[in-house]
């Protein structure tokens, strides 16, 4: 996947919506485009499936030049989840999910099987949800169906435009967890637009910070926090915010192997240091680190502090 020197200008608008943006993306990466509304991140996303035509530059998906592809065929090969879910109210859940396979001309049997597989993938029971209509879904369920619909024809690339913006914080968190699981399971390249910084930090392999149609910085989350390229990135992410940085570090990275002291609390080694700090603050000086059921070390306040200091690799 390569976006090369892409510029988008709208007629009558002052300045360019997207200006000279280049991004190189490996297959299977989870990319978050992060920026305030009006920064051009959605416009940039929409150049990938030609919903917006760039006025300059090129976009390559799977080695194909997007501008040389037929736009409707291209869009069928790229998953797309819109802001307001956009499920069609007059179609059942199954019919909504079946849209792209039908457009491509899959056989009925294969479509039916695929619909059930996808519902299972997004943790909705096919028997209960197949025949429901969008009005019978909660916000979170509707969003899951939206993701299933986008994944229907096994796209290699998935575009998501602020997909979780309309659901409440609790549901959003569980949707984020599941999206990460699905990403890991399928290995789909994902472009995810959001203005929610914590959402970006939680999901992304790499984050592109977009401002006024330009990329301020494109790097892994920890690097944005520990080594912001511009003062804008620093302010936006609160890069000096130690808690945010701790949330990107795992317990594993700060673990002390041997310990003789007795711990009263414990934590799993794949949790974040922020979680570990929480446990410590709850009233112990030492927390035991476990992998599964076995103890593999321990952590103190000092260990967390020194992990923070040496964090930028």
């Amino acid at each position: 996947m390569r976006i090369e020197r892409v510029t988008v200008s709208y007629r009558g608008a002052q300045g360019n919506a997207v200006e000279d943006v280049s991004l190189d993306v490996r297959a299977g990466e989870f990319i978050v485009l992060l920026g305030p509304s009006g920064s051009g991140k959605s416009t940039l996303l929409r150049t990938i499936n030609r919903m917006v035509a760039p006025s300059g530059g090129t976009v390559h998906v799977d080695g194909r030049d997007v501008l040389a592809c037929d736009p409707t065929l291209l869009r069928r090969s790229i998953g797309y989840v819109v802001q307001a879910v956009g499920l069609f109210p007059h179609m059942s859940v199954a019919q909504n999910i079946a849209i792209v396979p039908q457009l491509i001309g899959w056989e009925q049997d294969r479509i039916r099987r695929r619909v059930d597989d996808l519902l299972t993938l997004v943790h909705l029971d096919p028997a209960r949800f197949r025949r429901r209509f969008p009005r019978e879904l909660s916000g979170g369920e509707a969003q899951r169906v939206g993701v299933a619909r986008a994944l229907a024809a096994e796209p290699r690339v998935l575009l998501m435009d602020e997909p979780f913006g309309a659901v409440d914080a609790l549901v959003r968190f569980s949707l984020q967890e599941e999206l990460r699981r699905i990403h890991k399971e399928l290995g789909t390249t994902i472009f995810f637009v959001t203005h929610d910084i914590d959402e970006a930090l939680r999901l992304a392999d790499r984050i592109a910070v977009v401002r006024n149609g330009r990329i301020e910085q494109f790097d892994v989350p920890l690097a944005l926090l520990s080594d912001p390229a511009t003062s804008y990135v620093e302010d936006l992410l609160g890069s000096r915010d130690a808690l945010r940085r701790l949330s990107r570090l795992t317990v594993q990275s700060a673990i002390r192997r041997s310990s003789s002291e007795r711990a009263t609390a414990f934590i799993q080694s794949d949790r974040s240091l922020r979680d570990a700090l929480n446990v410590l603050l709850a009233g112990s000086n030492l927390v035991e680190v476990r992998a599964g059921n076995s103890c593999i070390g321990s952590l103190t306040f000092d260990d967390i502090r020194s992990a923070l200091v040496k964090a930028p690799e």
């Binding site: 307001a84 956009g86 069609f88 059942s92 025949r131 019978e136 609790l170």
Partner: protein, 227 residues
């Protein structure tokens, strides 16, 4: 009442003509209004021009429009159908354009983003969404046409208006009353018919009944959980 029985043949003949004229006109008018309405909804400038022209047509009294058409088309059924089609356009084109403009932009965006062509988006998403509004327009058009078709008798197109005009010329109250009553009796079922279709279309649009599923299969209780 006895008049209605003794003249049943004449009345039924005129009623039949009336139905043929209005139903035929409505059918042709819909076929023309659909592409016009789509064009009006897709392009702002086209929309303004088309709707303004149609509004102007609507303000021409129907007798005057008949008089204008006679030099080109002569008297009779076809001339009347032409004029009535023009009137129906005002109502139908506007309802198509309004219906399509009411489609939420998220739905249109999703249709395009999933890879539907412009025609597929129209047929599968936009028209089903606009259908209740379209049928509402057809209802108003049908009622209007039934009323306006009475004047078509003036140019020898027949219909219930023939009874009324004859009655006016020959001081025959019976024919005036029967003609008017029949016209009303025609409006009521037409209105009810389209109202029913409109209601069904609204339910289907909002996901209350689906093609292909029986009621029994579709009785899942709506979910009201958080996630």
């Amino acid at each position: 009442m006895s008049f209605a029985f003794t003249h049943a043949n004449e009345i039924l003949w005129r009623l039949g003509q009336h139905i043929a004229l209005t139903a035929g006109t409505l059918l042709i008018a819909c076929a023309i209004a659909l592409p016009l309405g789509v064009a009006a909804a897709r392009n702002r400038r086209v929309g303004v021009i088309v709707l303004t022209l149609l509004d102007l047509t609507y303000t021409i009294p129907s007798l005057a429009l008949y008089a204008l058409l006679i030099p080109f088309m002569g008297l009779g059924f076809v001339t009347a159908a032409t004029a009535l089609t023009a009137y129906a356009q005002t109502i139908l084109v506007r309802s198509v354009a309004t219906g399509l403009s009411e489609v939420p932009s998220a739905l249109r965006d999703a249709a395009r983003g999933l890879g539907m062509s412009s025609l597929q988006s129209l047929a599968r998403v936009e028209l089903p969404y606009a259908m209740p509004t379209l049928l509402g327009g057809m209802r108003v058009a049908a009622v209007t046409l039934i009323a306006m078709a009475n004047l078509a008798a003036w140019i020898n197109a027949g219909g219930l208006g023939s009874l009324i005009f004859y009655g006016l010329e020959h001081d025959d109250a019976n024919r005036i009353i029967v003609g008017s009553l029949c016209s009303i009796l025609l409006v009521l079922p037409a209105d009810a018919f389209f109202r029913r279709l409109e209601f069904q279309a609204l339910r289907r649009r909002n996901g209350y009944a689906a093609a292909g599923f029986t009621q029994a299969e579709n009785t899942n209780p709506p979910s009201r959980r958080i996630a």
